[in-house]
């Protein structure tokens, strides 16, 4: 009668085994990349009803973010400007800048009818996440850290994953993103722009003992009793240019930045 199963079946287990291994690998890698905000969110760049260019306004004209997003420092929500705001410059009778431009058609219409402009939402936290702008911009975290260089974007795009893991990453080591408050909305800010002397002077003016500052720079035991000493010490440790680490560590220590890692910080 012979064999019931054909000869080739003998190799089947091996083949199947190998196949399974590879598929499993592929799937997990695929999921790890395509199913996470890194991919699902970053790069989202919808076209807006009004072709408003942050590049022109925030970049070329150098308008401060807070001129339009006026409540970022006061409230959890950083508001989208009212039509009125646009009109302060573009409305007839007011600035009247390019009032006639077809690009502003919708804005004009909105002004007459009172119909809001349906801006397309780019950054969207889930409903159970209570993100608060004021808590960040008042404490040395710049807009750029989460929204990227908007001043270079013709159309706003989603720049960062803004996943929970991503948030926690910064909440664990905030020094990576801290900067002096007067640079919060300066999207082009580089630590190297800071004058080291001014920076430390600022701290000293805030009655921070120079000893503490020195210890943050040079670790335990490091000493420096006046500004120059501090600057020298810093130069020795960080080199000519002011570095983010230098700024971040100082501010973290002396502003007592302690980002919460509790559930309640974002979920209520």
């Amino acid at each position: 009668m012979g064999n019931f199963f054909p000869r080739w079946t003998n190799w089947l287990p091996l083949k199947v085994g190998i196949a399974v291994v590879f598929i499993a690998l592929g799937v997990s890698i695929g999921v790890a990349y395509y199913f996470t905000p890194k991919y699902t969110r970053v790069g989202y760049e919808p076209t807006q009803p009004v072709p408003f260019s942050h590049k022109i306004h925030a970049g070329q004209l150098g308008l401060d973010c807070r001129i339009c997003h006026s409540f970022g420092e006061a409230s959890g929500h950083s508001n989208v400007p009212t039509n009125q705001t646009c009109f302060n410059c573009h409305g007839q009778g007011k600035g009247g800048i390019r009032a006639a431009s077809p690009k502003l058609e919708l804005v004009q219409k909105a002004h007459q009818t009172g119909q809001s402009i349906p801006w397309v939402k780019v950054h969207k936290a889930p409903d159970y996440v209570y993100f608060n702008h004021s808590a960040h911009v008042n404490r040395g975290v710049s807009c750029v850290s989460c929204h990227g260089k908007v001043n270079e974007m013709e159309v706003v795009r989603h720049d960062q994953p803004q996943s929970m893991g991503w948030c926690l990453d910064c909440h664990r080591n905030p020094e990576k993103n801290l900067r002096p408050l007067d640079h919060i909305t300066n999207l082009n800010f580089k630590p190297s722009d800071l004058k080291r002397a001014d920076f430390y002077k600022g701290l000293l003016d805030k009655k921070v003992p120079s000893g503490e500052i020195a210890e943050v720079i040079g670790g335990k035991g490091a000493k420096a009793d006046d500004l120059d000493a501090l600057v020298n010490l810093a130069e020795k440790t960080f080199g000519k240019e002011v570095t983010q680490k230098e700024v971040g560590t100082q501010l973290k220590k002396h502003w007592q930045i302690q980002p919460p890692e509790n559930c309640t910080a974002c979920h209520r």
Partner: protein, 1084 residues
């Protein structure tokens, strides 16, 4: 789910109080967003309107597999900002306004939290002289605003009519009243203190000289009338609890549903809490005589249950002992026991002349009020512990008897009912009265916010505006003048009483005002003008800044009533007393029936408020309905079980009502809470409970004697939230007498097992206690806040204000009668109520509230002690619930909170099992999504809507959603929830501090600046909350008290919430004084 609320048109011709130019100019965008949960488009988007928070959680789960497949991009969601900026509006930040809630004969000063145009939460106004905590009625009144069953359209003989028609009818009525110079026009008003209201009534009198005014409140008593005769016209006694050290209350629930004009309760409770050894006289003492347990009775140092019929006798006895013999006849009927009880009590009052007061309940009969007046006079209370204030003169009004007479006499053609009471429901012999009205062809114009029987049978019904919707003003008990300012444009064009009067005077058109001609500025609202005019009178000239300050502070400084120079007219009192007949104490055959306002719906006006309906009655723990309270002894004699129907026959009527056992209730007496049994008032209030009003025949008749009771076979399943009435000897609640306290101030910390807790020897040092060198893993008190709470049981009176406040602040769903029966109440705070008798030390009420264990005497049953304990999540430092959660949904925060991440919870319910305090609540159904209040019939099965799941009907009352607090997640089915110390408030406070801190180090929020909702609402100041790491914080001071103890300390959960044991101040000479509070010492 957030929905767009279709917002009504607004009066155009009238001058409008506008929140924004957008509203002023009626911008589409504004109107569109007006009802949105987040009108500041930033946060509410059409897509979100599709996927609410809870839906999102679901979708998260469902779509996890699909994530990224849909081209890895999210659907387009849009942001709709305002076109014009809105004044005061910072998107995402609530605005607080001061206003005042007009109450029967008074006012409650409030601060309203308004989220983008939606009033969401109420709290007391701390600036106001009578401000502070507020009771559950005021707390819950915000829900009435959004009640979907509110009357929304004018009705003509029960059918919807247009506003135009309504205006016509009113104009017509006014016109022909004018012809006869007012003859035939009658107006019924409630007990109001609104100057504008009264002023307009006055103007009505001038415009229609022959018109008649009547005052009617469903549960109002004769007090006013008596005061007029005995003390003089417009003289109003104002009790100063801060001065009263000895109080004897005659059936007067001044801590509960029968408030007296006087200082807020917290002034009374101040004198209850002692932290160091104190003399008897440093602590106030409360004597209570009543037929049933009330909150006041629960707080009493000495309480005796006596039939309500004997209250006059008791008053007479007291008066007699104070040398006023006018009541001798009455006193004769008093039993010996009562005499023995009263004698020492009065002696104590006399010993404290000047600081002693006797209070009579508002529903007590005239002679009691008369006697009490002379008693207080004899005690020298007037001028010391009681101020006599001179009210502003009121137009004189007839009482209900007069109204009845005039109607039957045919003098009335048109009757305008402005009273919050419902004539055809709560009037004495309402049916007959209704019949009379129709027979005599009286045109009844009814103004009210409920579609109750009066509204449906009135010739014309006008929807009333909620006090958060319309302009008005009111005087508080002490006379302070407050303005009632609207928070939101009327949702249903309702009209306030003032508006109706103005309409009668032809100064206002009711309902939506027609649009003004283009360009024409909208005319000013007459209601608004009227209030401004009154203000001008009160404040002496219309000074804008004064006006604005009044609006901001919520009251006009220095506007309180002046002292009256009045004295007690003994003769007048004597005559009143002499008219009275002695009441006979009831017997097995002739049982007495006592009608009382209910803690849930007061006199019936709150019948459609789900929060109040579900807030358990403090005494019986009954929700959603009323039942006949029967004293335990009688209960046993009749062989009843809870919920068994009884038929009560009295005054020639018979009602069938389920009975409920009420320990501490006097025998042969039955108490019926009023206000229930109103049909077709809406999904919430409809068909709930039994109407007790039918029993009374005369306005003042709240005690009906000689009733016959028949036990029926049927048993109703009552929605009781607590089946266990005793503490089973567990030292959960602790109290002691002042004497015990003076002997050992720390007695509470040594009660039961707490005295011998073995040292906890652990292999590791966990995150407990304060971090220091010994305890490196402890909580960081240096750079973090450490939240904690202390609840003073000496102060807690057991009202349910905190429960309702919590419900309003934390978006806690209402679950409905069906679910309460199943024991699935969602309220985060549980108000445990325990009974105890001193017989065996450990109280001996067995579970299921029968007294089976041993048979105490009826006397003991009547005088069982009652205590209340509010119990929410204790925020244990070593929380047993945390370690058992498999998914880390509940973990500990470094500021000592027991965090609950709803969006992580999968609902294993293990935490609920492992919580020693049973403080966790589970969403058994989608209470927010499926209407739990209605029955549904599907597939031939009729059952509660919840049980049909996806087939069931969605919640229609979307207006309710406007009340939701946007800072709190609305929980979906299948997740666990619990008290979080109002974490949303804590976080906002911390973030607010960050805005101040900026580049400095002072991270700590200002001392005591953040309050939890329950703390804010507590009228007794029993709850203290704050930062333990802040040495100055009052919670630290409270926890330093020797009375401080932790519930179930033995198991080592280290709760952050601790309690202060209750102190009582018994009078040694009183019978049974030796038994008081001893039960607590025998606990384990």
């Amino acid at each position: 789910m957030k929905r767009n609320w279709i917002h009504p048109e607004e009066p155009q011709n009238a001058k409008r109080y506008w929140r924004s130019t957008a509203e002023l100019e009626r911008r589409e965008s504004f109107l569109k967003n007006l009802g949105r949960e987040f009108p500041a488009g930033d946060t509410l988007t059409p897509e979100e309107a599709e996927n609410g928070r809870r839906d999102f959680l679901k979708i998260m789960g469902a779509s996890v597999g699909l994530m990224g497949l849909a081209s890895c991009r999210r659907p387009i969601t849009t942001i709709l900002p305002y076109t014009q900026h809105v004044e005061w509006m910072v998107p995402g930040k609530p605005v607080l306004f001061a206003t005042t809630m007009p109450r029967c004969g008074g006012a409650t000063p409030l601060v309203v939290t308004v989220h983008e145009g939606r009033p969401t939460h109420l709290s007391g106004n701390p600036l106001h002289p009578l401000g502070g905590g507020i009771d559950s009625f005021a707390q819950a009144s915000v829900l009435d605003l959004y009640d979907p069953d509110r009357s929304q359209k004018p009705l003509g003989a029960g059918k919807a009519i247009s506003w135009a028609k309504a205006n016509e009818l009113i104009a017509a009525a006014a016109a022909d009243a004018k012809k006869s110079s007012g003859a035939g026009l009658g107006i019924v008003v409630g007990a109001t203190t609104s100057p504008t209201y009264l002023r307009l009534l006055g103007e009505i009198k001038t415009a229609f000289p022959q018109a008649k005014l009547y005052g009617y409140e469903a549960v109002g008593g004769d007090a006013q009338a008596v005061n007029k005769e005995v003390l003089g016209a417009g003289v109003k006694p104002f009790v100063k609890f801060s001065k009263a050290m000895r109080i004897l209350a005659l059936d007067c629930d001044f801590l509960g549903v029968d408030p007296v004009a006087g200082e807020p309760i917290k002034e009374f409770t101040k004198h209850r809490a002692k932290e160091t050894k104190a003399a008897e006289n440093d602590m106030n003492r409360l004597y209570v005589l009543e037929n049933r347990y009330t909150l006041t009775g629960g707080m009493a140092d000495h309480r005796k249950a006596i039939p309500a019929a004997l209250i006059p006798a008791a008053a007479a006895l007291i008066a007699e002992q104070l040398g006023d013999a006018s009541g001798k006849a009455l006193a004769a009927s008093a039993p010996q026991a009562l005499k023995d009880w009263i004698a020492p009590a009065v002696r104590d009052l006399i010993d404290n002349k000047g600081t002693a007061v006797v209070l009579a309940g508002s529903r007590c009969s005239a002679e009691v009020h008369a006697l009490v007046a002379s008693i207080n006079n004899a005690l020298g209370a007037y001028g010391s512990a009681i101020d006599l204030l001179q009210e502003a003169p009121k137009p004189d009004m007839g009482d209900f008897a007069a109204l009845q007479a005039d109607v039957s006499g045919g003098q009335l053609k048109t009757l305008v009912s402005l009273t919050p009471a419902s004539l055809f429901y709560d009037a004495p012999d309402a049916a007959a009265f209704a019949k009379l009205i129709t027979e005599k062809g009286v045109k009844l114009v009814h103004v009210g916010s409920l579609l109750n029987s009066t509204a449906l049978h009135a010739a014309v019904h006008i929807p009333a505006a909620h006090y958060l919707e319309a302009w008005g003003d009111v005087r508080a008990a002490d006379g302070s003048y407050s303005i009632v300012q609207p928070m939101i444009a009327p949702l249903y064009d309702g009209a306030s009483e003032n508006d109706v009067l103005l309409a009668l005077l032809g100064r206002k058109k009711l309902g939506p005002a027609e649009k003004p001609a283009d360009g024409a500025a909208p005319a000013e609202d007459a209601g608004y003008t009227a209030v401004r005019d009154t203000f001008a009178q009160v404040a002496g000239g219309l000074d804008e800044s004064k006006w604005n300050f009044t609006l901001r502070d919520g009251f006009l400084k220095g506007s309180a009533y002046a002292r009256a120079n009045a004295s007690v007219n003994a003769a007048a009192a004597g005559t009143i007393v002499s008219k009275a007949k002695a009441g006979a104490s009831p017997s097995d055959e002739a049982i007495e029936v006592v009608l009382v306002p209910s803690s849930g719906v007061y006199d019936g006006r709150y019948i459609n408020n789900a929060w109040l309906q579900e807030a358990p009655d403090p005494i019986t723990k009954l929700t959603w309905e009323n039942a006949a309270w029967v004293g335990s002894a009688t209960f046993k004699r009749l062989g009843l079980e809870d919920g068994q129907h009884i038929a009560i026959r009295a005054n020639g009527v018979e009602i069938e009502i389920p009975a409920i056992e009420a320990p501490g209730h006097v025998s042969n007496s039955i108490t019926i809470p009023l206000g229930y049994g109103q049909n077709n008032v809406g999904t919430v209030g409809g068909e709930k409970g039994v109407n007790g009003y039918v029993m009374r025949r005369l306005p003042g008749q709240f005690v009906i004697s000689g009733a016959k009771v028949e036990v029926l076979g049927t048993v109703a399943e009552l929605a009781i939230t607590q089946t266990q009435n005793t503490m089973e000897g567990r030292a959960v609640y602790r109290e002691g007498t002042l004497e015990t306290f003076n002997k050992d101030t720390e007695f509470a910390q040594k009660t039961g097992m707490d005295s011998h807790i073995p040292e906890n020897i652990s292999f590791y040092k966990g995150q407990v206690g304060k971090k220091d060198t010994e305890n490196p893993d402890g909580f960081d008190y240096e750079t973090k806040h450490q939240w904690g709470m202390s609840i003073d049981l000496s102060k807690c009176i057991g009202c349910t204000a905190c429960i309702v406040a919590c419900q309003s602040e934390n978006n806690i769903p209402v679950v409905g009668k069906n679910q309460v029966r199943k024991g699935r109440l969602m309220q985060w705070i549980r108000m445990d109520r325990y009974f105890a008798v001193a017989k065996t030390g450990i109280n001996n009420v067995a579970q299921e509230s029968t007294w089976a264990e041993d048979n105490p005497t009826p006397e003991q049953l009547e005088n069982a002690e009652m205590v209340h304990q509010p119990l929410a999540c204790q925020q244990c430092e070593a929380a047993p619930c945390e370690t058992v959660c498999p998914v880390n949904a509940t973990v500990h925060t470094d500021d000592g909170l027991n965090a609950m991440a709803y969006n992580r919870c999968i609902g294993t319910r293990y935490c609920a099992n492992n919580c020693p305090y049973t403080a966790r609540r589970f969403n058994w159904f989608d209470y927010n999504k499926r209407n739990p209040l209605v029955e549904t019939e599907k597939l031939g099965i009729k059952a509660n809507n919840l049980y049909f799941g996806p087939l069931g009907e969605k919640r229609e009352d979307e207006s309710i959603r406007l009340q939701r607090n946007p800072n709190v997640t609305v929980r979906m089915r299948g997740v666990m929830e619990k008290c979080t110390y109002c974490v949303q408030r804590l976080e906002s406070a911390k973030i607010l501090q960050k805005q101040v801190q900026r580049d400095s180090k002072n991270f700590r929020v200002p001392t005591d600046s953040v309050k939890t909702a329950c703390q804010q609402s507590c009228p007794a100041d029993a709850i203290v909350f704050g930062d333990l790491a802040d040495a100055k914080s009052s919670v630290n001071i409270a926890k330093a008290s020797p009375r401080n103890y932790q519930v179930l300390k033995y198991i080592g959960t280290r709760p952050r919430t601790s309690y202060l044991a209750r102190l009582r101040n018994p009078n040694k000479n009183m019978p049974g004084a030796e038994n008081i509070a001893v039960w607590s010492n025998n606990q384990y």
